[in-house]
């Protein structure tokens, strides 16, 4: 089998061979084969039959010609003999022996010469007067044939013709007769008998029967002896009597039917001859009419030849169709295999397509993943040549991918200040010692800016497990680095601030220190309660004693604070009030306000104000009040929505005022008086010492610290300090 030709695969659904359709195909094929066999048989039969018919027709014509020739060959002989004077003399003088002898001799000579069987002369009574066989034992002389039709026909002045069995000889023959006319009167009859054996004997050599029937359908000549003188059609009774009378077919003849029937057929003109009895043979029969003689010649051919031809054709056609069916089945099988191959190819193509699609999807997915990465990716081969960079990496250093790929160290983004370090790192990695924890690197962006990065490098393994290079992920930590730096700066500043805010710090330390004895107090009290309930007086006493000790310790701490505040060495000096406020803002307040998103407004007095004060302590008080104000506003949403920390300075009656105004919740009634008491606090985590200390500080400077509610919501804390004489003079006229 040759290779399947590579055709373009048809689109659409591939052809299949359903079982039903395959069955139908085979059934159709078998029907066609049967039709072919039948048709071939029919055709062969028809063809053979036509050939047989042609043969029969030719045979019939030939035989008819021969028959007619024999039957008419001696037509002239009786007529000619009748003209002979010797015959006339004989008839005129039948008694004369000499004439008889002469006539006998004449007839004998003529008969012998012509080759006919008998030649004889009868008087009008039918009595034979002379005959060619006068000297044979079967001599016709003196025989009377007056009852024979040929005699009567001749007597009537016509030529008689008659086939019959000889009365004298018992042998069949054709009798032809002619009248002897003398002076318009029939005076006798001359007849000749012709034997038909010369024509019928060769028929015996023929394979199939040949026979001749007379006008009444009686077989009188033929190749089958058994059929002779038998009737092929029913005879009416008068005719039978007549035949018995004239003894045409011998003495004692009775009608017997032939052992066959002849059925005429229209197309082609002919007949079928079928022997009687089951399984009888059948013949094709051709009838040639001889109307001048009143005879019918029938030639036959065995129809078995036709049947045989049909059977042969059947056999051949069956063989042919068998081959055809096999061929068709093979073709179908091959088609099916081709279809399956095609189907398999289409499936393969579909799979390839799906696979390709999946790969494209994966590729697209990978691409968008790489593009969306903020982490830079860089792959290098074993020599350090860059083989891949992603978009994030390019963004990070400001070079395009095509500018980086193929580069060997030193790379363009290496920071010029750290080349040694870069070389060192690169050599370390390429030698196989990647930094597992990552490596911080400062890079130089194309635009000249510094980029801080973290490199994480791992081995690059290809699909077959081969180590082919190094893959680095690069994280940009510049922002983080900056934030750290800023944080550091902020912390430094904060430390400076915290050093300054000793009041706040002190309060916190105080809280911690004071909390210890307070906690112990609470615990001992609880323990004492439990022990009292258990009735254990010994431990109870111990607990109560310890409780007293802790209470005294707490009181001691408070006393220490007060002493610290009082004993603080005074360093009073003339200073500018607005400078102090400004310094407070710079130290902490402005930053804190910005953190909370609250604007700060400073209102200067009309003229510079000078006070005699400890600059650092005064700053701390302002900061403390400012922080309080910010905290108040942080927890409170003002109705106007306008948060603002306001620091106002003013001169009033020889005093300088610093007011800290907020829009917080204000001071509830009954709170304002207690605000500056030690350990009074409105906050859950407050200790209640800040304002108390603040007031102590201000009072130590000869001033006052007061608080009141502000018009329109919020609180006002006011520091009132006496002005130094210089400003007092200026402001107070």
């Amino acid at each position: 089998m040759r290779a399947v030709p590579a055709q373009p695969a048809p689109q659409g659904t591939p052809r299949r061979w359903p079982q039903a359709r395959r069955g139908g195909f085979i059934a159709t094929l078998l029907c066609l084969a049967a039709l072919l066999v039948w048709g071939a048989g029919e055709w062969a039969e028809q063809s053979e039959r036509d050939a047989q018919w042609d043969n029969l027709r030719r045979l019939g014509e030939v035989q008819a010609l021969a028959l007619r020739g024999v039957a008419t060959r001696y037509n002239y002989l009786p007529f000619t003999a009748a003209q002979h004077p010797l015959v006339r003399q004989l008839l005129q003088r039948p008694a004369s022996q000499a004439v008889r002898d002469a006539a006998n001799a004449y007839l004998q000579a003529v008969n012998q010469h012509a080759g006919s069987d008998m030649l004889y002369v009868m008087d009008p009574e039918g009595l034979t007067l002379a005959s060619s066989n006068w000297d044979t034992p079967n001599s016709f002389v003196h025989q009377n044939y007056g009852n024979r039709p040929y005699f009567r026909d001749a007597l009537a002045g016509q030529t008689g013709r008659f086939y019959g069995v000889g009365k004298t000889t018992g042998e069949p023959g054709l009798f032809v007769s002619a009248p002897v006319v003398d002076a318009g009167r029939v005076i006798g009859v001359v007849a000749v008998k012709v034997r038909m054996e010369p024509i019928s004997d060769p028929w015996a050599q023929l394979r199939d029967p040949v026979f001749v029937t007379d006008e009444r359908g009686i077989v009188f000549l033929g190749s089958v002896p058994g059929w002779l003188y038998r009737t092929s059609q029913p005879l009416p009774a008068p005719l039978v009597q007549q035949l018995q009378h004239n003894e045409q077919y011998g003495t004692g003849w009775t009608p017997r039917a032939v052992p066959w029937t002849l059925r005429p057929q229209d197309d082609p003109p002919g007949a079928e001859l079928r022997m009687d009895g089951t399984g009888g043979k059948s013949y094709l029969a051709f009838e040639e009419k001889l109307p001048d003689l009143g005879w019918t010649l029938t030639v036959t051919a065995d129809s078995r030849v036709v049947a045989l031809a049909r059977q042969q054709a059947w056999a051949l056609a069956t063989l042919a169709s068998g081959l055809l069916v096999l061929g068709a089945l093979y073709w179908q099988l091959r088609e099916r295999r081709l279809a399956e191959n095609r189907l398999a190819r289409i499936e393969l193509e579909q799979r390839v397509q799906e696979r390709t699609h999946a790969l494209q999807q994966a590729q697209a997915f990978r691409q968008s993943m790489e593009d969306s990465l903020l982490v830079g990716m860089r792959a290098r081969d074993l020599e350090g040549r860059i083989v891949y960079v992603n978009a994030a990496m390019c963004d990070m250093v400001g070079y395009r991918a095509d500018e980086l790929i193929g580069q060997l160290p030193p790379y363009p983004y290496w920071h010029p200040d750290e080349l040694d370090r870069h070389w060192n790192d690169s050599d370390t990695v390429l030698a196989g010692n990647a930094f597992p924890q990552g490596r911080e690197n400062r890079l130089r962006h194309r635009d000249g800016s510094d980029v801080y990065t973290m490199f994480y490098t791992t081995r690059l393994i290809d699909g077959s497990g081969q180590h082919i290079g190094w893959m680095s992920s690069v994280v940009n930590i510049t922002a983080q680095k900056r934030a750290e730096e800023q944080q550091q700066q902020r912390e430094t500043q904060l430390q400076r601030v915290q050093r300054v805010i000793t009041v706040g710090e002190m309060a916190s330390t105080l809280a911690h220190e004071l909390n210890q004895p307070l906690a112990a107090l609470v615990n001992y009290a609880a323990a004492a309660r439990a022990l009292a309930a258990q009735g254990k007086t010994g431990p109870l006493n111990d607990s109560l004693e310890a409780l007293s000790t802790q209470a005294l310790r707490a009181a001691d701490i408070v006393g220490r604070i007060r002493r610290w505040v009082r004993q603080h060495p005074e360093a009073r000096e003339p200073c500018d009030l607005s400078a102090i406020v400004e310094q407070s803002l710079e130290l902490l307040l402005r930053a804190e306000a910005r953190r909370q998103g609250i604007p700060v407004r400073v209102e200067q007095a009309g003229a510079p104000l000078q006070v005699n004060a400890d600059r650092v302590l005064l700053e701390q008080v302002v900061i403390n009040l400012g922080l309080n104000a910010l905290q108040a506003m942080q927890t409170h949403q003002p109705p106007t929505g306008s948060h603002e920390l306001r620091l106002r300075m003013a001169a009033d009656d020889g005093h300088a005022l610093v007011q800290v105004l907020d829009r917080g919740p204000g001071l509830p009634p009954g709170i304002a008086e207690r605000l500056f008491e030690p350990f009074f606090t409105t906050r859950s985590d407050g200790l209640g010492l800040g304002l108390n200390i603040c007031r102590s500080i201000i009072e130590s400077m000869g001033g006052q610290l007061q608080a009141r509610n502000r018009d329109g919501g919020g609180a006002v804390f006011e520091i009132r300090l006496p002005c130094t004489p210089a400003t007092a003079n200026a402001t107070a006229p």
């Binding site: 081995r459 906690a519 609470v522 001992y524 323990a527 431990p539 310890a546 200790l687």
Partner: protein, 228 residues
């Protein structure tokens, strides 16, 4: 005066040890007095170093730990406990202004924090909670140790098979994997089945799922090989 003694009264049916670590003697002794009165067994320490050196770290118990101390800070002591896989549970004691540190400590696994001074009920509740958790963890550790002992009782081949089966694959697949790993020692799936029965019996488990949890818990689960 010291209260570092056995409990005065055994009110609590299951007294748990309470370690008090605070550099302030007043606080330390007062807490001891209260807890002893409430039936706890108490040990007091003035500093983290002494506590770490003397305390029984693998028995359940509660630690009341002051945040701000001389020497090791409370957070350092707490981290050290974690490093040593102690089952002790910590409640921090903080003074004013140490809120953020205390919150951070709780986020790192401390049971609670108490701001000094605190009420008795708050203190006792925190101690109770820490003790319960510590006992639970001690049981957990014990159970894990038991599982580890059982695991170590397996033969090396059984451990190999168990690790494979723990990933949830069938005996046939396990046999194939083993044959792939070591082609010179092919193994029949029925042999794997036999191993499986022995493994289940020795580890006292009933399903591959339990096996997976156990292997995971012991930290011997197979990692899918990864190229980094």
């Amino acid at each position: 005066m010291t209260y570092d003694t056995a409990p005065i009264a055994a009110d609590s049916p299951d007294p748990t040890v309470v370690y008090i670590v605070d550099d302030d003697e007043g606080v330390r002794q007062s807490l001891a007095a209260l807890l002893i009165a409430r039936g706890h067994q108490v040990h007091t320490f003035a500093g983290g170093e002494a506590f770490l050196a003397e305390a029984t770290l693998d028995q359940p118990g509660c630690v009341l730990l002051d945040l701000r101390m001389e020497g090791l800070s409370g957070l350092q002591v707490f981290h050290e406990l974690g490093q040593r896989h102690s089952v002790l549970k910590t409640v921090f004691l903080s003074a004013h202004g140490e809120l953020s540190s205390a919150v951070a400590a709780v986020k790192q696994g401390a049971v609670d924090w108490l701001e000094k001074p605190c009420s008795e009920s708050t203190l006792l509740a925190a101690v109770e909670k820490a003790s319960t958790l510590s006992q639970a963890q001690a049981r957990q550790v014990q159970r894990q140790q038991q599982q580890r002992d059982r695991w170590n009782a397996l033969s090396p081949r059984q451990q190999e098979v168990a690790q494979l089966l723990a990933t949830g694959i069938s005996s046939k697949e396990a046999a194939r994997a083993l044959a792939q790993r070591d082609p010179e020692r092919p193994i029949d799936p029925r042999t794997v089945d036999t191993h499986r029965s022995a493994i289940f019996l020795k580890l006292d488990i009933r399903s591959s799922h339990e096996l997976g949890m156990l292997v995971e818990g012991l930290g011997v689960a197979l990692n899918t090989p990864r190229t980094a």
